[in-house]
C-alpha cells in the first residue's frame, strides 16, 4: 500500500534546477532511501514534502490525496542541519516542539516521558541543551522528531554526530518504528546503512531521478558478472584455461586454497565458467559478487555523466 507519492515534481530556483520531473512512491511501513550526491536536489524534495516550499509543477500526495499544510502534523522531520534552543530547558522545549506539531500539552508530556525513560535520560529534563554533549543533543532531537507519532518520518543524515553505539541504538529505533507501522524516508551518504535499512531506494543526480527500485533488485541489476572462486590447483593453469573470456581482477595464493576474483567478459553464465574451471582446479567455493550500495551509487552517478 502506498502511503506517500511525489508525482512529476519540478522545482526551479532563480538560476538552478533543483528537481526535474521527479516521481517517487513510498510504501506504507517501509524504509525508503533517498540517495544522491551533494546538491542533487534531495533536500529540496524533502522540503517540498514538509510543505516548507511548494513545487513549481507536480504534486505530493499522502494516503492517496493531495497534501495539505495541516498534514505536517503527520510528518516527523529530522533535518540534516538541526539544532535546538541552547538556553531552554530540555523538557520544556520538547513539549513546545511537540505542541507545534499539534499535540496537547498533556499528550506531549505523556509521550515525552515514555521516550525519555526509554532512552534513560529522564534526569536531563530540567537541564539546558547547552549543558549536553553533541551526541546527547542528537538523542533529544530524535525524540522531538518522533514524539507526535507521525505516519511519515523523514530522516536527513540521521547518524551524523552519533558515536557507533548510539548510531546502532538509532538504527534499532528506526527499524522498530517501521515495524510498529511508521513509514520512513531516509536520506544519507552512508551506503552501509542503506544496505542495512532500506527496502527501496531512489537515486537523484543533478535534479533527475536516475535509479528507482527495491534495494535488492537494484543491486542485482548493477551486477557486473564478477565472481569469486576459491580453488585448489595451479593459478597458471587456471589463467591459461580461462584465457580471454575473463578479466582477472585479483588473485591471492594460499596453502589451503587460492582465491581469485574474475569478471566474465562476454556475459556468459556462471555454469559456463564452472565448466571451464572444473577440469583444471578443485573448486572450493564459487560465488557471484553482488555490488555494494556504494558501488551502485558510484556506478550510477558515473554512468549518468
Amino acid at each position: 500500500m502506498e502511503l506517500f507519492s511525489a508525482n512529476n515534481v519540478t522545482k526551479v530556483f532563480a538560476d538552478t534546477r533543483a528537481l526535474t520531473d521527479v516521481s517517487i512512491s513510498v510504501n506504507e511501513q517501509s524504509i525508503f532511501g533517498l540517495l544522491g550526491p551533494n546538491g542533487a536536489g534531495k533536500t529540496t524534495l524533502i522540503r517540498i514534502i514538509n510543505q516548507i516550499t511548494a513545487p513549481d509543477t507536480g504534486e505530493v500526495r499522502l494516503q492517496g490525496r493531495r497534501m495539505r499544510t495541516s498534514d505536517v502534523a503527520h510528518i516527523g522531520y529530522l533535518p540534516e542541519e538541526r539544532g535546538l534552543y541552547p538556553k531552554m530547558k530540555i523538557g520544556e522545549q520538547a513539549i513546545y516542539l511537540a505542541q507545534l506539531k499539534g499535540l496537547s500539552r498533556k499528550e506531549a508530556v505523556a509521550n515525552l516521558k515514555k521516550w525519555f525513560e526509554k532512552f534513560e535520560i529522564m534526569d536531563w529534563w530540567n537541564k539546558k541543551i547547552e549543558e549536553l554533549s553533541k551526541g546527547m543533543q542528537q538523542k533529544v532531537q530524535f525524540i522531538t522528531t518522533v514524539v507526535h507519532e507521525p505516519k511519515l518520518l523523514i530522516f536527513d543524515e540521521p547518524f551524523s554526530g552519533f558515536d557507533p553505539i548510539n548510531a546502532n541504538l538509532l538504527k534499532r529505533e528506526i527499524l522498530q518504528l517501521r515495524d510498529e507501522g511508521a513509514t520512513i524516508i531516509f536520506s544519507t551518504h552512508n551506503m552501509g546503512s542503506v544496505e542495512e535499512l532500506c527496502d527501496h531506494i531512489a537515486l537523484i543526480n543533478k535534479s533527475i531521478k536516475i535509479v528507482d527500485g527495491p534495494t535488492h533488485e537494484i543491486r542485482e541489476k548493477y551486477k557486473s558478472n564478477i565472481f569469486e572462486v576459491k580453488y585448489k590447483g595451479d593459478f597458471k593453469k587456471v589463467d591459461q584455461t580461462l584465457g580471454f573470456q575473463v578479466k582477472i581482477l585479483e588473485h591471492t595464493e594460499n596453502e589451503k586454497a587460492n582465491r581469485i576474483r574474475i569478471q566474465h567478459l562476454n556475459g556468459g553464465t556462471s555454469n559456463e565458467l564452472l565448466q571451464a574451471l572444473i577440469p583444471v582446479a578443485e573448486i572450493v567455493a564459487f560465488e557471484e559478487i553482488i555490488p555494494s550500495m556504494n558501488d551502485v551509487f558510484i556506478k550510477a552517478v558515473e554512468e549518468d555523466k
Partner: protein
C-alpha cells in the same frame, strides 16, 4: 492560528521571566525618580565645601561688610601680604584671593585669583555680594541726596514680576491651564520613549530570528508552522512584553502621581515652595513665597491637564504600528543574514529614519506647527516619534488621522516585504545578502 498563539506565548514568557526584564522594568522608574531627585538635590544643596577667601580691598569699602555664610568665609589682608600670598597661593590656607581695586565703583571689575578652577557658583556668589553691596550703597546715596522720606520703601514697592499663565481653549470652549514647559517635557519624553521602545523591541525580534537561524532550529520549526505564523507569533509576543512593561510603568506612575498630589497638601506645598525659593534666591531676584507655592501646585495641576487619555491612546497606537513596521523589517534582516557583521550593515539603513526622528525632536519642540513637525509626523518612518512629540501641544484631528492612516499603510507594506524576505532568507545559508538580492527575493512567487 493556534500555533501562532503557541509561539506568541513561548516568546512572551521567555522574555517576561528573564531576570533582565524584571530588573529593567523596576530599574527604569527608579532611574527616572533618581535622576529627578539628583537634579533637585544638586540645585538645592549645591556646594558644601568650606572655603576661606583672602580679600585685599584696595578701595577699603568692604572691610567687614562682605556677607559671610556657613561655607564661604572672607579674610581681609593688608597690602603687604597681598603680593606675598599671590605668589604662593597654592601653599597657603586660602582657597582663593579676591582683589578689589580702588576704582571698583566706576570700573565694576574685581579679580579672583586661585590655584584651582573656581566653581562657577562661587564666582557668581561673590559677584552678587559685591554688586549688591555697591548697588545698596549707591542707592542709599541717591536716597540721601533726594531727601524724600520713605523713598527706600517706595522704591521697593515698585519691584514687579509678571507670571504669564497660559490657558488653552479646547474645541468645546473649555479653558484649561496649559504650560509650554510641561508640554515640552512631555513631548521630549514621549518621543524618546517611543524611540527607545521601537528600537529595543525591534532589535529583540531581530536577534530572536537570527538566533533561531544560527542554531539551525528554524528548519524544524517551519516544518511545523508557516514562516508567517512564526514571524507573527514572535512579533506579537514581543510587543506584548513591551506593553506589559508600559502597563507596569503606567500603574506605578499613577500611584506615584496620586500619592504626590495628596502628599502636596497646601502646607507641604508651602514647604516645597520655600525650599524652591531658597534655591532660586541664589539665581535671580527674590520670588515671593506665595508664587513659589502656587507654582508647585500649578505644575502638578498642569500635568493633570495634559490630555492623558489621548496621549495614552496615541502612544499605544504609534508604538504598536511603528514597532510592527520596524520589527518586521528587522526580523526580515535577521532572517536574511548569517552573521552579526552582515546584520549591522543591513540594520543601519532601516534604523536610520528612526535616528533622524530623534533629531527632529528639538525643532518640533520649538515649533510644533512648523513644516519639520508636520512632515516628520506624516512620513511613516518618522511619524511614531515625531507625532508623539507633537501630541502634548495639541494637534488638529485631520492631521492625526492622516498620519495614522499613512502609518498603517506603510506598516502593511513593511509586513508584506518582510514576510517575503523572511520566508526565503530563513533557510538560506552562506550567501552574502545585499539589497539587489533582497529585491530578487521579493519577486519570488510563494
Amino acid at each position: 492560528m493556534n500555533k501562532t498563539i503557541l509561539i506568541l506565548k513561548q516568546e512572551y514568557f521567555k522574555r517576561v521571566k528573564k531576570k533582565s526584564f524584571i530588573i529593567l522594568t523596576l530599574l527604569v522608574p527608579l532611574l527616572f525618580v533618581g535622576m529627578f531627585a539628583l537634579i533637585i538635590l544638586l540645585s538645592v544643596n549645591n556646594d558644601k565645601q568650606e572655603r576661606t577667601i583672602a580679600v585685599f580691598d584696595e578701595s577699603a569699602l568692604f572691610l567687614g561688610e562682605l556677607e559671610q555664610d556657613e561655607y564661604t568665609k572672607f579674610h581681609f589682608i593688608p597690602k603687604e601680604e597681598y603680593s606675598e600670598l599671590k605668589s604662593d597661593l597654592k601653599n597657603s590656607e586660602f582657597y582663593a584671593l579676591l582683589y578689589i581695586p580702588e576704582n571698583i565703583y566706576s570700573a565694576g571689575t574685581a579679580q579672583l585669583i586661585s590655584a584651582k578652577q573656581v566653581p562657577i557658583e562661587l564666582t557668581e556668589k561673590i559677584q552678587r555680594r559685591l554688586s549688591q553691596f555697591i548697588e545698596k550703597d549707591k542707592r542709599q546715596k541717591v536716597i540721601d541726596e533726594a531727601g524724600i522720606p520713605d523713598l527706600d520703601d517706595r522704591l521697593a514697592a515698585t519691584q514687579t514680576s509678571v507670571k504669564l499663565n497660559t490657558l488653552k481653549i479646547s474645541e468645546t470652549g473649555e479653558a484649561t491651564q496649559s504650560s509650554s514647559e510641561v508640554a515640552f517635557i512631555a513631548s521630549y519624553a514621549m518621543g524618546f520613549i517611543i524611540y527607545f521602545f521601537v528600537f529595543m523591541y525591534g532589535s529583540m525580534v531581530m536577534r530572536s530570528v537570527m538566533e533561531e537561524k544560527k542554531n539551525r532550529i528554524v528548519e524544524v520549526i517551519i516544518s511545523s508552522v508557516k514562516p508567517f505564523q512564526l514571524m507573527a507569533g514572535k512579533i506579537i509576543g514581543t510587543a506584548l512584553v513591551g506593553l506589559t512593561q508600559v502597563a507596569i510603568w503606567v500603574v506605578v506612575g499613577m500611584i506615584v502621581l496620586t500619592a504626590m498630589q495628596s502628599f502636596f497638601t497646601p502646607e507641604s506645598a508651602q514647604q516645597m515652595g520655600q525650599s524652591l525659593m531658597e534655591s532660586r534666591q541664589s539665581m535671580g531676584p527674590a520670588m515671593n513665597q506665595d508664587a513659589a507655592q502656587s507654582q508647585v501646585t500649578a505644575a502638578l495641576e498642569m500635568v493633570g491637564n495634559l490630555n492623558l487619555g489621548l496621549i495614552l491612546f496615541t502612544f499605544v497606537f504609534y508604538f504598536l504600528a511603528g514597532y510592527l513596521m520596524y520589527s518586521s523589517l528587522l526580523g526580515a534582516v535577521g532572517a536574511a543574514v548569517d552573521n552579526d557583521e552582515d546584520s549591522q550593515q543591513m540594520v543601519l539603513p532601516i534604523t536610520f529614519p528612526l535616528i533622524i526622528s530623534i533629531m527632529l525632536l528639538f525643532p518640533i519642540a520649538r515649533n510644533p506647527e512648523g513644516p519639520v513637525a508636520f512632515w516628520g509626523s506624516m512620513i511613516p518612518f518618522t511619524s511614531p516619534v515625531a507625532m508623539l512629540a507633537r501630541i502634548p501641544y495639541g494637534i488638529p484631528t485631520w492631521e492625526l488621522l492622516l498620519s495614522m492612516f499613512l502609518l498603517l499603510l506603510a506598516t502593511l507594506g513593511a509586513i508584506w516585504v518582510a514576510a517575503k524576505i523572511y520566508k526565503t532568507g530563513l533557510l538560506m545559508y552562506g550567501k552574502k545578502v545585499n539589497i539587489k538580492e533582497l529585491i530578487k527575493w521579493l519577486r519570488y512567487k510563494s
